[in-house]
């Protein structure tokens, strides 16, 4: 799908406001998990890496593409696990208090 110039500009603009709004209401207590969570979200780069690698024609493109996919997968998986581990700690307290 081709995205026309101005359509892309509108997407940029609206997404930027969305990101700003979403994080502006985050309590300080969640800043680090939030940072980790947003770090996970840009792991979507994996999709781009997959597409680019899929179209690789030369060995050089394959090598770079391989790195792109591996790094992107690392971003996504690492970001997810790190975020979940941090948020695990905000489990309802009654369980933890008993331990």
């Amino acid at each position: 799908m081709m995205i026309e110039g101005f359509t892309a500009l509108y997407i940029f603009m609206l997404s930027a406001f969305t990101g700003y709004e979403v994080i502006s209401r985050v309590p300080v207590i969640l800043h680090t998990p939030m940072m980790s969570g947003s770090n996970f979200i840009h792991g979507i780069v994996l999709v781009g890496a997959t597409v680019v690698m899929g179209h690789a024609e030369t060995t050089l493109e394959q090598v770079i593409g391989f790195f792109a996919v591996a790094l992107a997968a690392g971003n996504a998986v690492g970001g997810y696990v790190a975020t979940v581990r941090m948020l695990e700690m905000f489990k309802p307290t009654d369980k933890k208090g008993a331990a």
Binding site: I11, Y20, V28, I44, V45, V52, G54, I64, L71
Partner: protein, 464 residues
């Protein structure tokens, strides 16, 4: 099929935004990351069905292999890492994302050098994404090395700023030639990437470890932006939306963090703190530091009605959070109200201290922000400061000449008594003397955080 793929990407974008939204409240946060995770899995599966991807069997095999390798390494490291080391892991995973975006741009640019110019806006954004992604990649690696203790000193070349600026301009020129040219040599693309990576390194090395969280947050925003730009190049709306949302959220978070430290972002990125901290350090201080023994401090706390604990970076370093949790339980069993006061920049990242305390089993409703807790200090019998320094320095309120004047601080000096656990007599990372330590109602308990809190715990136990 194409419509189906687009529908999935649309749903994924919605899941990401809702997931982030849910992550903004402690109650729904865990659901939020799961929603985002489902979106990620859906997007990465659908990516295989993009036109052309399944045409080359070898490529598909290599993609699956790369995903397996990257995921396995990240999964194992993320599972094993200590909670106190989380900030640098965020840095490294973020760097990987930046590297991936730069590598995507790399493939596009190599293709261009082979005679397939993309042209127009896409070509410019491919180059910009490559630059930002590469800087984020190498810069995050340095941030990781610093926080991991692999690289302790700040590193400066002679005329560091000028060299760095020169390098940046050269990188931009090379980028512009690639972005606007029809015929690009592969050598130039290579030189461009090397320069961008070196710039990322030189950009990060002079910044001190204490400022790294701000830098990591900035690189997080960078990676988001790079991903959004490459999303435009590939015509992928999910990448544009997710990348831009992270780009703006990361920028705001960076601002919030810098603001809490009362320093403009430019000051953190382009100047060392030591340079302007000297002025306020020499002034005369009235009074002297008064030492207290662990057992005496324990008695003071055991018979208090309300204790406010102020944990700082020193607590994280000493890994004292579990001892602190034990102390809290013990005090509460004696009917003492215990609350935690968290400065916005306590620890290595905003919220880092909360994560550490939560890990140790302290309920998050006891953990208060600066605005919530400051009015409570005058009613507190004891304020216990563990490994925090500049964030409780009253000169930020009282002395307009001090470099930290105006920084929001926790009013520990307003409590009836203040006990400060501290390793040595030195000043904080800003190099400023702390007037709190000299106040009449302040007692110093010297020692390693874990050991000192241990003394308090055993001191209180003896009373029972």
């Amino acid at each position: 099929m194409d419509t189906f793929i687009q529908v999935v990407y649309f749903v994924v974008a919605v899941l990401f935004i809702l997931g982030l939204k849910k992550m903004s409240s402690p109650v729904t946060a865990r659901g939020g990351i799961v929603w985002a995770g489902i979106g990620m899995v859906a997007a990465s599966i659908v990516a295989f069905f993009e036109p052309g991807v399944f045409d080359h069997g070898t490529n598909v095999f290599l993609i699956i292999l790369a995903i397996a390798v990257g995921s396995a390494i990240a999964y194992i490291t993320a599972k094993r890492v200590q909670m106190t080391d989380m900030p640098q892991m965020i840095a490294i995973y973020n760097g990987m994302g930046g590297g991936a975006a730069a590598a995507i741009a790399g493939v596009e640019l190599v293709r261009m050098a082979g005679g397939h110019a993309i042209g127009g806006t896409a070509q410019v954004l491919a180059v910009l994404g490559a630059l930002i992604g590469a800087v984020s990649f190498s810069g995050s690696a340095i941030a990781f090395a610093k926080l991991q203790g692999l690289m302790n000193k700040t590193f400066r070349l002679p005329m560091h700023m000028i060299i760095n600026l020169g390098l940046f301009v050269l990188t931009l020129i090379a980028g512009a030639i690639i972005a606007f040219g029809d015929d690009v040599s592969i050598q130039l693309v290579l030189v461009f990437f090397v320069m961008a990576l070196v710039f990322g390194v030189l950009f990060t090395t002079p910044i001190g470890g204490a400022d790294m969280p701000v830098v990591i947050s900035l690189f997080n925003a960078f990676t988001g932006l790079a991903v959004a730009f490459e999303g435009f190049v590939l015509g992928n709306a999910a990448m544009i939306i997710a990348g831009t949302v992270v780009g703006s959220a990361g920028t705001l978070l960076t601002q919030l963090m810098a603001k809490a430290m009362n320093r403009p972002i430019s000051n953190i990125l382009f100047a060392s703190f030591g340079a302007d901290a000297g002025a306020g350090a020499d002034e005369e201080i009235e009074g002297s530091m008064k030492e207290i023994q662990g057992t005496d401090a324990a008695i003071m706390m055991a018979y208090a009605e309300k204790v406010i604990i102020i944990p700082g970076y020193g607590m994280a370093v000493a890994q004292a959070q579990h001892k602190v949790a034990e102390l809290t339980k013990l005090l509460e069993s004696r009917g003492v109200t215990v609350k935690f006061a968290i400065h916005p920049v306590a620890g290595r990242m905003p919220g880092h201290m909360n994560v550490l305390l939560a890990e140790a089993g302290i309920e998050y409703d006891k953990i208060m922000d600066l605005e919530e807790i400051n009015p409570e200090f005058p009613t507190a019998d004891v304020a216990l400061v563990i490994g925090a320094n500049d964030v409780v320095n009253p000169v930020a309120r009282t002395n307009p000449d001090s470099p930290i004047y105006g920084m929001p601080i926790l009013d520990a000096d307003m409590a009836k008594n203040c006990i400060v656990i501290k390793r040595g007599r030195g000043a904080g990372f800003s190099g400023i003397e702390n007037h709190l330590f000299y106040a009449d109602n302040t007692r110093m308990l010297y020692g390693d955080g874990q050991k000192a809190v241990g003394e308090l715990v055993s001191g209180i136990k003896q009373l029972q």
